[in-house]
């Protein structure tokens, strides 16, 4: 309750929550409002928004309804964001926890692996993965997860390093607790808040990464994603700018919402900011 009150006390956090709810509502209502295939030919290509009452956001250069693609695209973007973030967090937490808990040679090996991923610009690595494994929705999502985990691994490791020598850990050891239980049941819950906050950042970046891939025509063309729509609109940018601008606004709103919520969670969870 206390946590909820602290969260709701911050106006940006509330705005973020409202925007996020809006995007979720779009995703949930897509089938209801636009039952037809969003990638199907809907009408004459490149009709301006509001020019035709059937297409209130217009049509793109392939004659597809932009509004339908934006609504259905919300699902794809959120799906990619959630799954790839979950993947990144799971990999990152396991690697970081094991490295931070055991230290020594285990830590050295795992951190060198993490650094190997970190020194590569993650978008370049993503391009390589997609080029090798193809660009279906599944591979793109997994690839985004794979390039996004190193930061959460380092964060978890740092938390574990500071927590592993605390008294409560020593007490648990004294009670004869095994390593696995110590890591996941005792230390991890205490290490998790900063990682959860960071998940918001990963999620926002995941949406942007997918859009960037689609912009380069390297994302899955068989699903209605916002990035695909921006990529398609690129060739008519000078004359029909709305084809790229509308999904661009959708991405902006979603990334902003996720970031604001993440920031709100950080403020609410951080004990040092409690009395401000």
């Amino acid at each position: 309750m206390d946590f909820l009150r602290r969260y709701l006390a911050s106006p940006p956090a509330v705005i973020g929550l409202v925007l996020l709810a809006l995007v979720l509502a779009m995703a949930a209502s897509a089938d209801l409002l636009f039952p037809r295939d969003p990638l199907g030919l809907a009408g004459r290509p490149l009709q301006w928004p509001l020019a035709n009452p059937r297409f209130w956001l217009g049509t793109d250069n392939m004659g597809r309804d932009i509004a339908a693609q934006v609504f259905h695209g919300a699902r794809i973007s959120l799906l990619i964001a959630l799954v790839s973030t979950a993947l990144a967090i799971v990999i990152g937490v396991v690697v970081g926890a094991v490295a931070g808990f055991y230290g020594g040679i285990v830590d050295d090996v795992l951190m060198r692996v993490t650094e190997a991923f970190q020194i590569l610009p993650n978008f370049l690595l993503l391009l390589v993965l997609v080029a090798v494994f193809g660009s279906t929705l599944t591979t793109v999502t997994i690839a985004i997860g794979i390039v996004s985990w190193p930061a959460s691994a380092r964060l978890t490791r740092a938390e574990f390093l500071s927590l592993r020598n605390r008294d409560f850990v020593a007490a648990c050891r004294g009670l004869g607790m095994g390593d696995a239980r110590l890591i996941f049941a005792e230390i991890l819950p205490n290490a998790l808040p900063p990682v959860i906050v960071y998940a918001g950042v990963i999620m926002a970046v995941a949406i942007l990464l997918e859009s960037a891939l689609a912009f380069l025509s390297l994302s899955d063309p068989n699903v209605p994603s916002w990035g695909n729509l921006i990529g398609a609109g690129r060739s008519v940018l000078r004359t029909q700018w709305y084809v790229s601008a509308i999904p661009g606004v959708a991405i902006l709103v979603t990334v902003l919402a996720v970031s604001l919520v993440g920031q709100g969670l950080n403020d609410a969870l951080n004990p040092r900011l409690r009395r401000r």
Partner: protein
């Protein structure tokens, strides 16, 4: 016959082409020498030797520096360049070229028949794409004197096929630079030496190529331009901006996006036109992998063609730039075009009936079967057509999954691994069906050769028509054989030519004497000049 051609050629070279081009806007002005012409190129091939790589992207640059034996005249008939006259023996096995006298390479050495012999035997026959096919029966090139080259063929070679093909596949490079070297790695491949109106100056990878006026050009008082600069601009929006601000004067071969081409059409500063690209017709294609059970049935292939509204696609997706194709020979190829209507008119009911008849009824969810579509991204319209195919076939119960790959990956997947159900890309026609078109239908191409028949489809009748036509000396009978061939492949449909299109060039109106022959972008530009 022979005399009149010689007279015509003499007339053309004496007057200079500027005078021989009446009716072009601004022809009243006297050509003004000087000036720098800047040209946009959307892609970079990293090779500047047209005797090794047959591609418009190479010709746009090198045709100003290196000359061919023949080129097309304003009326689309071959005229001599390095060859001044030619003659074939009645059996079609020997073709004699008389070469122009007094022509010098840019490094000062004389041009002789030995250069022709070497280029034909070592480059065209062994290395040049399409050239290896064209010259496969070339046995030897005899050079009785420095001004005569006699091509000896094992099988009859139709003179009109050879002349049309040599406009693209007949560029001559200097023997003294290539002999005894590995021709593929010769430095002259990126720093060319030719006989043309412009001399190579500099090639900066990813940036530009510069050529300057050749003061010793064999045609007196030509060229007019001081320099030509080709700039590589891969981003289409940036290229449009460069055109609109006057940084480049010409963007050839659909170098700008379809939307910008359409927009600039109404801009009085530019000429956006297909004039001068008539010899470079191309088609949007739909290739069927007939190893797939459903697609081995010709009724299914026809049903797919019937399900796609080509008129709608051209009008709305291509801004009206094209028309439905009537077969693999485009209507701009007057010497071979057999006429006729597009063979498969849009008719969704008929498509559904054909699929039902073939035994592929709609199943659960109204779906009949699904296909993997590989787009080969030659241009921005390819993904558009891929999407349109997906949308159209969805309507008749065929689910299409688009497999997105870069162009190299797509070529490998389709032509080497055969890992596709349907594919879509471009077919380019080069003056004569035997140059780069019949290979799309003839069986026996090595696995992996791009833009050849890799569809798992073979027809003895079609193979025979292709072989007979390639060796038929009588032009009328040859045209007849190709008409039969077009009918046969339209009927069997291993590949469907969806649209017939021409490239659009964007040209600043300051450029004069432009687009005055059917392959102007790939010609020597000796008479081009700039109005200030």
């Amino acid at each position: 016959m022979n005399l009149s051609r010689r007279d015509l050629l003499r007339g053309a070279s004496a007057l200079g082409l500027a005078a021989a081009m009446p009716g072009i806007a601004g022809a009243a002005d006297a050509p003004k020498p000087g000036g720098v012409l800047t040209v946009h190129l959307p892609t970079e091939q990293r090779i500047l030797n047209p005797a090794l790589r047959a591609s418009t992207g190479v010709y746009v640059i090198t045709s100003k520096i290196i000359e061919a034996l023949v080129d097309l005249g304003p009326d689309g008939r071959p005229v001599g360049v390095l060859a001044s006259e030619w003659e074939a023996t009645p059996d079609g096995r020997n073709v004699t070229f008389k070469l122009r006298e007094g022509v010098k390479w840019h490094d000062g050495k004389p041009f002789t028949a030995a250069d022709v012999q070497f280029t034909a035997m070592e480059l065209w026959k062994k290395q040049l794409n399409y050239g290896t096919q064209l010259q496969q029966h070339l046995e030897a090139v005899d050079t009785p004197d420095p001004q005569t080259a006699i091509f000896r063929y094992a099988r009859p070679m139709p003179l009109n096929l050879l002349l049309r093909a040599l406009c693209d596949l007949g560029y001559i490079v200097p023997r003294h630079l290539y002999e005894g070297t590995n021709v593929l790695e010769n430095p002259a491949n990126t720093a060319p030496i030719g006989t043309g109106p412009f001399r190579f100056v500099q090639y900066e990878r990813g940036q530009f190529v510069i050529a300057e006026k050749n003061p010793n050009y064999w045609r007196q008082n030509l060229p007019y331009l001081d320099r030509i600069v080709w700039r590589f601009i891969t981003d289409k929006s940036a290229a449009t901006a460069a055109v609109e601000t006057g940084q480049v004067q010409i963007s050839p071969y659909n170098g700008l996006s379809l939307a910008d081409l359409d927009r600039l059409k109404s801009d009085p500063r530019f000429d956006v036109s297909t004039r001068g690209t008539e010899a470079n017709a191309f088609n949007n294609t739909l290739e069927f992998n007939t190893r797939r059970k459903e697609l081995s049935d010709v009724r299914v292939r026809r049903a797919i063609a019937h399900a796609i509204d080509v008129d709608f696609f051209i009008e709305n997706f291509l801004y009206g730039q094209g028309k439905p194709a009537t077969g693999p020979i485009p209507s701009s190829s007057t010497a071979f075009y057999p006429g006729g209507e597009p063979p498969y008119r849009f008719d969704r009911k008929k498509a559904e009936a054909l699929l039902d008849e073939a035994g592929y009824k709609r199943g659960a969810g109204g779906q009949r079967f699904s296909l993997r579509l590989v787009p080969i991204n030659n241009g921005e319209d390819v993904p558009l057509l891929a999407t349109f195919i997906q949308q159209s076939l969805g309507q008749i119960g065929i689910k299409v999954e688009i497999v997105q790959l870069d162009i190299a990956g797509a070529l490998t997947t389709v032509y080497r691994d055969w890992n596709f159900d349907i594919a879509t890309g471009w077919h380019q026609y080069r003056g004569d069906p035997a140059v780069s078109t019949t290979v799309w239908y003839r069986s026996g191409s090595p696995k992996g050769a791009p833009w050849t028949n890799q569809w798992g489809w073979q027809s003895d009748a079609v193979d025979r028509l292709i072989d007979d036509a390639a060796a038929e000396l009588d032009p009328v009978r040859r045209k007849g054989l190709y008409a039969d061939w077009v009918r046969a492949v339209n009927d069997e449909l291993p590949v469907w030519m969806v649209t017939e299109r021409q490239f659009y060039d964007v040209t600043s109106k300051t450029v004069q004497n432009d687009h005055n022959i059917p392959r102007w972008g790939s010609s020597d530009w000796r008479d081009t000049w700039l109005k200030s």
